[in-house]
């Protein structure tokens, strides 16, 4: 197998997400490409259809706050112990995003249908939930092997782009995901997969008998960017903890649109602590920086 030249810098990676893309991202425990998300915000990507697998937190909240998102398809947007997503909540109240409320296994089912090239997957549960009333891509059908047995058909979710963070890549374009198996689902289901990694290793991951079984082959990977600490301010397994001070400052500041603009300006400027700008909106900050 020849060396694949799909290692790019992180801005080039973010440039591969077109405006209007159906973009699928992972939950915090699986691997969130926060450094790449910053480049998406810097670039000002617009009209994303954001699919979260199955939930999201800071990543969804900043993309929504920065006006990058038209539609959110998710089973939950929350900053967990830090609170609710302030930009998400504001956008819902303002009606500025279209919300496709889901339930976790339906997100997996929709992606698995896409992975399998199927129009739909059946799924138990759901019937009786108001979620079903608002989803024309979920339909109640008869179990063909049952008698008077209704079951939900979940239409395929076919993302244009998958974007996530993983531990290792090699120079052949392969990505090691370890126990975060759902990242393989994201890659298989999507037309194009973009990955940031903590580390680029020598050798071919597929030749490593210990790791090859938990490796996404290059076949599915459009581009990889080397992004050490690429999940900051989120934490990454045993490698680094969540930046709790940053998260607390975020939740506090992002309560207002002005405060969120200040967050974004500071975030785009570097990896440091957030400083609340009392009474200062983005205009003043930009002035001060100029």
């Amino acid at each position: 197998m020849s060396v694949v030249n799909n290692l790019v810098d992180i801005r080039a990676l973010a440039a591969l997400v077109p405006d209007g893309a159906k973009l699928v991202v992972a939950k915090d425990e699986s691997g969130v490409a926060m450094a790449a998300t910053r480049e998406l915000v810097r670039r000002g990507v617009r009209n994303l259809h954001l699919v979260t697998v199955p939930v999201s937190g800071l990543q969804a909240d900043v993309l929504i706050g920065a006006g990058c998102v038209a539609t959110v398809e998710s089973s939950g947007i929350t900053l967990s112990e830090f609170g609710t997503g302030p930009c998400f909540t504001r956008a819902i109240k303002a009606g500025s995003i279209r919300m496709k409320d889901a339930t976790c296994p339906a997100i997996y089912a929709g992606l698995q249908a896409a992975q399998k090239g199927l129009p739909f997957m059946p799924l138990r549960g759901i019937i009786g939930s108001d979620l079903l009333k608002h989803r024309d891509d979920w339909r109640v059908i008869d179990n063909p092997f049952g008698t008077d047995d209704k079951i939900v058909a979940i239409a395929a979710i076919g993302p244009d782009v998958a974007l996530f963070h993983a531990p290792l890549a090699d120079r052949f374009g392969n990505v090691f995901i370890g126990r975060q198996r759902e990242l393989m689902l994201l890659a298989h289901a999507s037309r194009k997969t973009l990955v940031t990694v903590e580390q680029v290793v020598e050798g071919n991951l597929l030749d490593d008998d210990a790791r090859s079984g938990a490796t996404i082959p290059a076949l599915y990977i459009e581009a990889i960017a080397h992004a050490p600490k690429g999940m900051w301010p989120l934490g990454y397994g045993d490698a680094y903890p969540i930046d709790a001070a940053w998260m607390r400052a975020y939740v506090q500041m992002a309560r207002t649109a002005e405060g969120f603009e200040s967050v974004v300006a500071q975030w785009l400027a570097g990896d440091g602590a957030l400083k609340p700008l009392v009474g200062a909106g983005l205009g003043e900050l930009a002035g001060a920086a100029a």
Binding site: E29, V53, V55, G125
Partner: protein, 254 residues
């Protein structure tokens, strides 16, 4: 060890009693008290004839053996291989419908919560769903939820081997009568009263013939809880563990 049982410990002990005998209990995100209760159940069950209860704590690295991604919990549940799970609700009504989406109209409405997570699915499939919500007010326990994230049992001939088994709040413990589809008050926590429960509950419920005071965990449970379980849950919920530890009579080293 003779220190008074805290409300948190009372809840953990109560949940552990509800879990007695389960083979496999899973605990969802943001659930430190159910997580501690599941780990206590495992600790209590070790060495029993039926074998130890298996515990899968989402978000944990050490107490979660799943290797097939987030879908594995849902696949196991549909196979009948998860015996117990926990759900909460921004609103819960007397028909055991739960609402995790928001109030007063959808989608823009009044309050917006994070979303339904796995509730709409797991509620149908896990036989012993324990509803757990500490805040016990008429804001939470409403006559009718504004949005049904997950539907309580009903006569719709839908495949539903699972459903609500009990509901634990900061005030009391309800059973759920599956035949009559009604909550039944079983016990009231120390320091609270039946009248308080009635005042704070927006739906009708039945009352057991003998409403007792919710029992505190016994000495064995308390020792395990404050030692091994506190350490185990601290891996996933360090802040929760720290706050709990601060209530203990002899502070352990951090």
């Amino acid at each position: 060890m003779s220190a008074a049982v805290t409300p948190t410990e009372l809840l953990i002990g109560s949940i552990a009693r509800l879990l007695a005998g389960v083979r496999h209990v899973a605990v969802g995100a943001s659930s430190p008290i159910p997580g501690a209760a599941a780990l206590l159940t495992r600790a209590l069950s070790e060495g029993s004839a039926a074998g130890a209860t298996r515990v899968s704590v989402l978000g944990s690295r050490r107490h979660n053996a799943f290797t097939n991604g987030g879908v594995e919990l849902f696949d196991l549940a549909a196979q009948g291989r998860i015996d117990a799970f926990f759900l909460g609700g921004g609103q819960i009504d007397g028909d055991a419908n739960i609402n995790l989406v928001g109030t007063d109209g959808y989608p823009q409405g009044g309050v917006r919560w994070p979303g339904s997570f796995g509730s709409a699915y797991l509620y149908h499939l896990v036989p012993r769903v324990i509803l757990f919500r500490e805040e016990h007010t008429r804001r939470v326990f409403v006559p009718r939820v504004d949005f049904i994230s997950a539907a309580g049992p009903r006569d719709d001939r839908v495949y539903r081997p699972g459903g609500p088994h009990a509901m634990l709040t900061g005030l009391c413990l309800f059973d759920f009568d599956k035949l009559r589809r009604r909550f039944v008050l079983l016990s009231v926590h120390p320091g609270h009263s039946l009248e308080e429960v009635r005042d704070q509950t927006g739906f009708d419920f039945d009352v057991a013939e003998q409403v007792t005071q919710t029992a505190a965990p016994d000495a064995t449970a308390l020792v395990l809880m404050r030692g091994r379980v506190l350490n185990e849950i601290g891996e996933t919920y360090p802040n929760f563990a720290q706050l709990w530890r601060a209530t203990l009579p002899v502070p352990a080293t951090a």
